[in-house]
């Protein structure tokens, strides 16, 4: 079954400065929605407002047109990968997987190199490994949507490719909203792209629009 997540009407301000004022982001099952923006443009705040863990003056989060007050409290609706490590450091990888209802074999199918680390605690892993485990858990968990805040940070290039492949596979059963400063990866993976600038979202239909909005000076072609 296809689902639609829409977030708009968000008004968020800190110290009389509007961080978010006119945003609209839509994500459907089967698609990856990219969100780009400069440092301090409010991407993470927007994601936390959508997730329901940050209060905004006004906001509207809807799933299939139905208004949701605090999205994270609705079982199976959405999960969120923050920029920082969120799984307790003393927790074993297998335990974390169990909490999120993920069979270890499912993780090994995508990342077999993590099989020897299964019985290690999160603090015994390197920052990159820990990030990979957390990202995989968020993607593999049974939710309708996943919101990923800088998923490619601290991840080595080879694993970035694996993560992009996993996102492409997973999107058939869930919608994904993703933001990162590695804009080329976001351009590569996104079906729909928004740029957050001056508290407003702009739908980007061509990469050159990122130059017009001053997000990048030029688009690198490889």
């Amino acid at each position: 079954m296809n689902h639609t997540l829409e977030i708009d009407g968000v008004q968020l301000q800190f110290a009389h400065r509007f961080i978010l004022s006119d945003v609209y982001v839509r994500c459907d099952t089967g698609s990856i929605t990219g969100l780009l923006g400069r440092n301090g443009s409010g991407k993470s705040c927007f994601m936390q407002v959508a997730f329901g863990t940050m209060q905004a003056y006004t906001r509207s989060v809807r799933c299939n047109g139905k208004h949701i007050r605090r999205a994270y409290t609705v079982p199976g609706l959405l999960n969120y990968l923050p920029q920082f490590h969120f799984i307790p450091a003393s927790m074993k990888v297998t335990t974390a997987l169990k909490y999120y209802g993920i069979a270890p074999q499912t993780l090994f199918a995508h990342f077999p190199e993590y099989e020897p680390d299964m019985h290690k605690t999160m603090e015994e892993l390197s920052g990159g490994q820990r990030r990979m485990i957390e990202l995989s858990i968020i993607l593999l968990a049974d939710t309708k949507f996943s919101i990923l805040d800088e998923p490619f940070t601290h991840i080595m290039p080879l694993h970035v490719e694996s993560i992009i492949a996993l996102m492409q596979t997973i999107k058939h059963r869930k919608g994904i909203i993703v933001t990162d400063h590695m804009y080329k990866h976001i351009l590569q993976v996104s079906d729909t792209l928004y740029l957050l600038n001056n508290g407003k979202t702009h739908l980007i239909s061509h990469p050159n629009q990122l130059v017009q909005h001053g997000y990048v000076s030029h688009i690198l072609n490889e």
Binding site: V74, G76, L77, P82, H85, F86, P88, Y99, Y100
Partner: protein, 98 residues
């Protein structure tokens, strides 16, 4: 069941400190008599305030582990403090009967 385990996981972050205080209160009650029960309860409730402040500040990032399990912070705190307070009173009750 997993929700209960997650609440237990959350409770474990401050349980040793809380149990230590419970033990001290029991010791106080055992040596000074039942008239100290009121003071012990006040001490315990006061400790909850500090535990809340300290855990909220130091474990802010880990809260997303529970949010991603669809557990609101209010539920985690209420369930943990309720269980701990029940355990505290049970220990106090046992101490008065010994």
């Amino acid at each position: 069941m997993l929700r209960l385990l997650a609440i237990w996981q959350f409770y474990k972050t401050f349980a040793p400190v809380s149990w230590l205080l419970t033990f001290l209160c029991v010791q106080l009650l055992y040596t000074a008599g039942t008239e100290t029960w009121g003071t012990a309860i006040l001490l315990k409730l006061f400790s909850y305030f500090f535990i809340y402040i300290i855990v909220r500040y130091n474990r802010r990032k880990e809260m997303f582990f529970y949010y991603n399990l669809h557990l609101p912070a209010t539920l985690l705190w209420l369930a943990s403090f309720s269980a701990d307070f029940l355990f505290f009173n049970l220990c106090m009750l046992i101490a008065t009967r010994i």
